[in-house]
Amino acid sequence: MTGGLTIDRIDVSYGPRSALRGVSLEVAEREIVALIGSNGAGKTTTLRAIMGLTPPDRGTIRFEGTDITRLAPPAVVKLGITLSPEGRRVFPQMSVEENLQLGAYLKTDTVEIAHTMKRVYAYFPRLLERRGQMAGSLSGGEQQMLAIGRALMAKPRLLLLDEPSLGLAPIRVQEIGQIIREINAEEGISIVLVEQNANMALRLCQRAYVIESGAIALSGTGAELAASEHVRRAYLGG
């Protein structure tokens, strides 16, 4: 496979503590792939490994044919991958617009930046209303929108979303899900969707992986996994 992302049997550890063991994962072009699992299973670590924030000890990560296993984050961003992280998602003491501008940090073409920003504001009209406001004073849902918008500013071809539904009211989860689908369809961006909310993730994705204690336990299409006895019992509360 030349396009997309291929992770081949990576091991990641934090010092002496092993976090991922032999994780393999594929994302085709324009595909939404969900990565579900419980807290501490290794979802965020997988994304950090892709970004170069926590490089793997073994195994390889290739993106569109290029080996990115040992690349530093700026180089990974330059190749077209961005991350919308979990938790502290924004620069709190900067305005909404300044946050977005930093997302386009590696872009130099100001016309292109302005154009991308217009598109981001079209996806998230709420951000346009609050463009001058400090990001730290936004609501949780707005910060999530800003985090996704910021990641889009780099014009990625692969977008990594870490727990976009975390802490949001059910109605907002639906909104975000709808926008993720639109971004995927209209911009042609591949998406890795990391979620504890398996329900939402399995409905949005084409394919999904279940990660348990640092290893891939199951994989298949979203519908297959949603029907699987194991997934239903462990992640869908039924």
Binding site: P73, P74, P85, R88, L102, Y105
Partner: protein, 317 residues
């Protein structure tokens, strides 16, 4: 971001301060006060340089060691090799910055408490070297009779004259820090300080910016140390110790860490203290500690946050 008017107001403040400063040496009752004013300006330089390092989210516990390296280097250059002190201080500044680049490239991978520990060790190493490398440093006795800075036969040795040099350098550092804050560097520094992982995810080369900030801050500390050596005309292992590093940090905390003005205010408040506390020799550091805890408990934003705290209280919100 400050607007055009904010810019004019601040420039006006700088000019006003310069005009006032022109009369300071003449107005102070005696040379002792001029000396305190000079030390305050030098502290201002140190505090500002530490602030630059802090502005990328790192806290150096060995800042005084960089000042010490600059002091010894410029002093030795003038005493052993006959380099004019006016040139020596600049060499000291650049060499200290270069040393910080080498050190920074290695240790800035460490974050939080680990970085603090290594900078602390660096400070201790400097003190040990200054004590034991006697051939070069003259050991515990230190270097005496360091020449004053002279430019074209004009000496900046006398205290009231040195005041103007210290003020000029202080002002230059202040304007530099301000310009840095407003530049694209400043934006990158801010983003690293607020959220380093996110900054990295935006494609910002955080390691590079942290090394740059560390080098600039340490280089300015080296410059300040060199100025100090040619002013006091004496430098020993006791001139720049761990206690000075703690004092610089105290200045940042007491003044307020969020803006570089805080560093200046902290220097102005803290520097005269040791002189006022002369009678409590030995208790000084306990008093420093008490001040630190008091400020962190009651006014975590430092003295510069007083207006906004009052506004919040007064506004009844």
């Amino acid at each position: 971001m400050i607007g055009k008017t904010g810019l004019t107001v601040r420039l006006g403040l700088v000019i006003a301060a310069s005009v006032v400063a022109a009369f300071v040496p003449g107005l102070l009752p005696n040379l002792f006060y001029v000396h305190i004013a000079n030390l305050t300006l030098l502290s201002g330089i140190f505090a500002l340089s530490l602030w630059i390092i802090y502005s990328v989210g790192q806290l150096s516990f060995g800042h005084a060691a960089f000042a010490g390296v600059g002091a010894y280097m410029s002093a030795l250059l003038s005493m052993r090799l006959g380099v004019p002190p006016a040139i020596g201080v600049i060499i000291a500044c650049l060499a200290t910055a270069g040393m910080a680049v080498l050190l920074g490239a290695v240790i800035l991978r460490l974050r939080g408490v680990y970085f603090v520990l290594v900078t602390f060790l660096f400070g201790q190493m400097f003190t040990l070297l200054a004590l034991n490398w006697s051939d070069l440093t003259n050991g515990a006795n230190g270097l005496i009779s360091i020449p004053a800075i002279t430019v074209g036969g004009f000496s900046f040795g006398p205290r009231p004259v040195f005041f103007y040099l210290a003020f000029a350098v202080f002002l230059a550092v202040l304007l530099f820090a301000w310009g840095l804050k407003r530049s694209t560097f400043g934006r990158a520094f801010d983003s690293i300080h607020q959220n380093i992982d996110l900054a990295e995810s935006c494609g910002i080369d955080t390691a590079r910016y942290q090394v740059i900030a560390f080098a600039i801050g340490s280089g300015i500390a080296g410059l300040g140390g060199a100025l100090t050596a040619h002013y006091i005309r004496f430098v020993s292992p006791d001139t720049f110790t761990f206690h000075n590093s703690v004092a610089f940090i105290t200045m940042l905390v007491v003044g307020g860490r969020s803006l570089f003005w805080g560093a200046v205010i902290g220097a102005a408040v803290i520097t005269p203290l040791p002189e006022l506390l002369r009678d409590f020799e030995g208790l000084q550091h306990i008093i420093y500690g008490a001040i630190l805890i008091l400020v962190l408990r009651t006014l975590p934003g430092g003295l510069i946050s007083i207006p906004s705290v009052l506004r919040r209280k007064g506004g009844g919100r």
